[in-house]
């Protein structure tokens, strides 16, 4: 008995850790999407908000990026799937020695770093455009076009791998049989090989789209002056992150879940339909009893349920208003800050400094010091003259004797992290 629980405990614990490792970050990310804190985090919990979704919906750059990612994804599918299928068919028909040589060639783009593919695509087509004397408006300089080409190079190889594993189980005499029955080669392809490959085409399409959507290192070069979903996200990370990133994650996770549930219910329904004729009819009473359950798992019903759930959450979320709570939090912070100020600098409280962080709350989300006031009493003029600069720019901490003067004279560096800020000699 104890032994039994003992053997059950360790695998159970292992599973728990495994799933925590797998899903922990996702869960945390989802939660942060609903916290009103300026930085994606769970603690301290401020207010439940759906505002980040609203912010996301208003983010034109991101929306434009998603739009071009979709166009690129569709373009990549349209090119990579036929190319990959053709390569797989070719490999299945040549002799063994030629096959291994061709296989190495076809697979090479996967092994080449994405950065190299991106750069070489850019340079190659640029050269060709230059050689043809085309203007910079020509499609050979177009980011979408180049990105599709660049991504197809390796995504076609991915899809070829998917097709290969399926085509290896294809019996080539089926094609011969079709030809023998009077089918033209095209008919034999469409009526025999394609239906057999259909499941692989489905999975390769999904794979190609996801690989295209999430690709960064090739795209960042080939997109030229444009942007895609990933490049926008990357620049967001670089220039200051806010929880609308988490909102993106929530939407992606949600879409994945919905797609997975729909696919699974469709697959089960199909498997049930394909049961041999004898077992399809509900014969036993148990089967009759199961009938309503079956109806509940019908894909149409599942789809309707999902639509209700998703639609409902969007509707409820859009009606939620957290502004009162957020104002309250803001007020609390201000009070807290005031308190700290007074504690640390009871002698000379600078009147302007208290308002500075409030005037520029979004300026530096990475600076936790925001919330805990400044470590040193600062001369009043500096923050007042350059509020966007970040009142607590490290320059203030520079061990310079005439600190106030240079800080004030500086022509407002754009970022609090600008290296010049840190330079000790000014």
């Amino acid at each position: 008995m104890t032994r039994k629980t003992g053997t059950g405990l360790i695998p159970g614990l292992y599973l728990l850790l495994f799933f925590a490792y797998l899903f922990g970050p996702l869960i945390i990310m989802v939660i942060t999407a609903f916290n009103s804190s300026q930085f994606p985090r769970i603690r301290p919990w401020e207010c439940f908000t759906t505002g980040w979704f609203a912010k996301l919906a208003a983010d034109d750059k991101l929306l434009a990026g998603i739009g071009s990612s979709l166009v690129i994804g569709i373009g990549v599918i349209a090119v990579a799937i036929p190319v990959g299928l053709a390569a797989a068919i070719l490999l299945s028909q040549v002799g063994p020695r030629l096959r291994s040589a061709l296989y190495t060639i076809f697979i090479a783009p996967i092994l080449v770093p994405g950065v190299v593919i991106g750069l070489s695509t850019l340079i190659f087509w640029g050269r060709i455009a230059g050689f043809l004397g085309l203007s910079y408006k020509s499609f050979l300089y177009d980011g979408t076009f180049l990105t599709i080409l660049g991504q197809v190079t390796f995504i076609a190889a991915y899809s070829m791998l998917v097709f290969l594993s399926r085509i290896q189980r294809f019996d080539p005499t089926l094609t011969e049989a079709a030809l023998d029955m009077g089918a033209t080669p095209t008919q034999a392809f469409c009526k025999v090989l394609l239906p057999f490959m259909a499941p692989a085409i489905g999975s390769a399409t999904v794979l190609a789209f996801l690989a295209s959507l999430e690709n960064y290192n090739t795209t960042v070069f080939t997109i030229v002056s444009g942007s895609t979903f990933t490049t926008v996200l990357a620049s967001k990370v670089r220039y200051g992150l806010d929880p609308s990133i988490s909102a993106v994650a929530v939407i992606i996770i949600g879409a994945t879940l919905v797609a997975a549930i729909l696919y699974e219910s469709w697959r089960r329904d199909k498997a049930r339909r394909l049961l041999p004729a004898g077992r399809r009819v509900p014969a036993a009473p148990a089967d009759l009893w199961l009938a309503p359950v079956r109806r509940l798992t019908h894909p149409a019903f599942v789809g309707a349920m999902l639509a209700v759930v998703v639609g409902g959450s969007i509707w409820a979320g859009s009606r939620h208003d957290s502004s009162a709570c957020e104002a309250q939090i803001m007020e609390n912070k201000r009070a807290l800050q005031q308190q700290f100020m007074q504690q640390q600098a009871p002698a000379s409280p600078p009147p302007a400094a208290t308002t500075a962080p409030v005037q520029a709350p979004a300026s530096s989300v990475f600076a936790p010091s925001n919330l805990f006031s400044s470590p040193a009493p600062e001369p009043a003029p500096a923050p007042a003259q350059a509020p966007a600069n970040g009142a607590f720019a490290p320059s203030g901490l520079a061990p310079s004797s005439e600190a106030p003067a240079p800080a004030g004279q500086q022509p407002a560096p754009a970022s609090p992290f600008a290296p010049s800020n840190l330079a000790p000699s000014q």
């Binding site: 005499t173 089926l174 049989a177 030809l179 023998d180 029955m181 033209t184 009526k191 004729a277």
Partner: protein
């Protein structure tokens, strides 16, 4: 309409390997013609030439007096039943059968009607909606035949279609195939390495060995008057003796087969090439041609009984004569008793008409 198929000195070579060597024969319209030979002798290759999947390296193939050179498999009046049947697993039984009609643009309702008709013929009525993997081996077989017959080809080519079936089903399918052939009156070209199958079903049989056609004849001739040592040793059981020709005249040929006595085989008008005097040769005596004889009779020799196997209607004896092992089969007369004396020795012999003398040649490996 039946059409004759003629192979005109057909050669097929794969990278220095000759798979078919100078095949030259004509198969009449409406005939049930079999190719018989051991594995790898080029039967499938020859069939693929006729159906258009393989171009002969040399020679010509004509179907109904049309040269088939450059005519693709989809434009030949042949239907091939593959060694593995090659039914389409993703299509229902009816859709399989109607496939040839589908690719010819026959309208859906008409296709279904024709498929039902054919299902009726192959005794599977109402099973059109089944999936292929719901069928038994013999049913698949019949579906493959129905599919091949859907567009009424002139020539049906069958590549060992029964090899995957168990013995009972095989025998059943043999009679059924023959019945279908009679019913539709097509030219059947049938491939097998099962000689029983070839001999019972065929109007004529071609025996092949290593890409070469050894003999083309009806079953009886193949069995009784083999043209080469290979045919004699491959078809049915045979005792082969290597020896030299001592004498030859109008009636017979006398051979020293190393048994201590000269043995005589009859010569007939239709005997083909026979070995000349002094030449090495093969003498073939079938187990059922050997009979116990009184000591000293012509064409008889001493042997020792090694083993006896009892098979109900037949008794098979394994004998040792000189350094030869030979088999002898006797019809069981129900009286029992040993054919050999107390010392296990006996005298066996044969009538000259039942022995065959042929030039020394390659034997089918035992």
């Amino acid at each position: 309409m039946t059409k004759e198929v003629s192979l005109d000195h057909v050669w097929v070579e794969f990278e220095n390997f000759v798979a078919v060597e100078d095949a030259n024969l004509t198969i009449a319209g409406g005939e049930f013609f079999s190719f018989l030979g051991p594995s790898g002798c080029g039967k499938t290759t020859l069939l693929r030439c006729i159906s258009g999947f393989q171009e002969p390296t040399l020679g010509r193939i004509r179907i109904g007096n049309h040269d088939m050179k450059g005519v693709g498999p989809n434009r030949r009046p042949t239907a091939l039943i593959f060694q593995n049947l090659a039914l389409f697993p993703l299509r229902s039984v009816a859709d399989n059968i109607a496939f040839p009609l589908e690719v010819r643009g026959v309208e859906k309702r008409e296709r279904r009607r024709r498929a039902d008709e054919l299902l009726e013929m192959i005794a599977l009525p109402g099973q059109g909606d089944k999936r292929i993997d719901e069928l038994s081996g013999g049913q698949k077989q019949r579906v493959a035949i129905a599919r091949a017959l859907a567009v009424k080809p002139d020539i049906l080519l069958l590549d060992e279609p029964l090899s995957a079936l168990d013995l009972k089903l095989r025998q059943h399918m043999r009679t059924e195939l023959r019945a279908i052939q009679k019913q539709v009156g097509l030219t059947f070209i049938y491939i097998t390495h099962d000689q029983g199958e070839a001999l019972t079903m065929s109007d004529r049989v071609a025996v092949m060995s290593r890409g070469k056609i050894q003999q083309v004849a009806d079953s009886r001739t193949i069995y009784d008057r083999p043209a080469t040592s290979f045919v004699a040793s491959f078809v049915g059981e045979n005792n082969a003796f290597a020896g030299t020709v001592l004498a030859k005249d109008g009636q017979g040929i006398t051979i020293d087969a190393g048994l201590g006595v000269p043995l005589v085989a009859a010569l007939r008008a239709d005997s083909g090439v026979t070995p000349a005097v002094g030449e090495p040769c093969h003498l073939f005596i079938r187990p059922e041609a050997l009979v116990p004889m009184t000591s000293g009779s012509p064409n008889s020799f001493e042997a020792r009984l090694v083993k006896e196997e009892f098979e109900g209607h037949m008794r098979h004896l394994l004998l040792q004569a000189g350094e030869h092992q030979l088999r002898m089969s006797l019809v069981n007369n129900g009286l029992g008793g040993s054919v050999a004396g107390a010392d296990g020795r006996l005298t066996v012999g044969f009538v000259p008409e039942l022995a065959v003398a042929l030039p020394l040649g390659l034997l089918a490996s035992a």
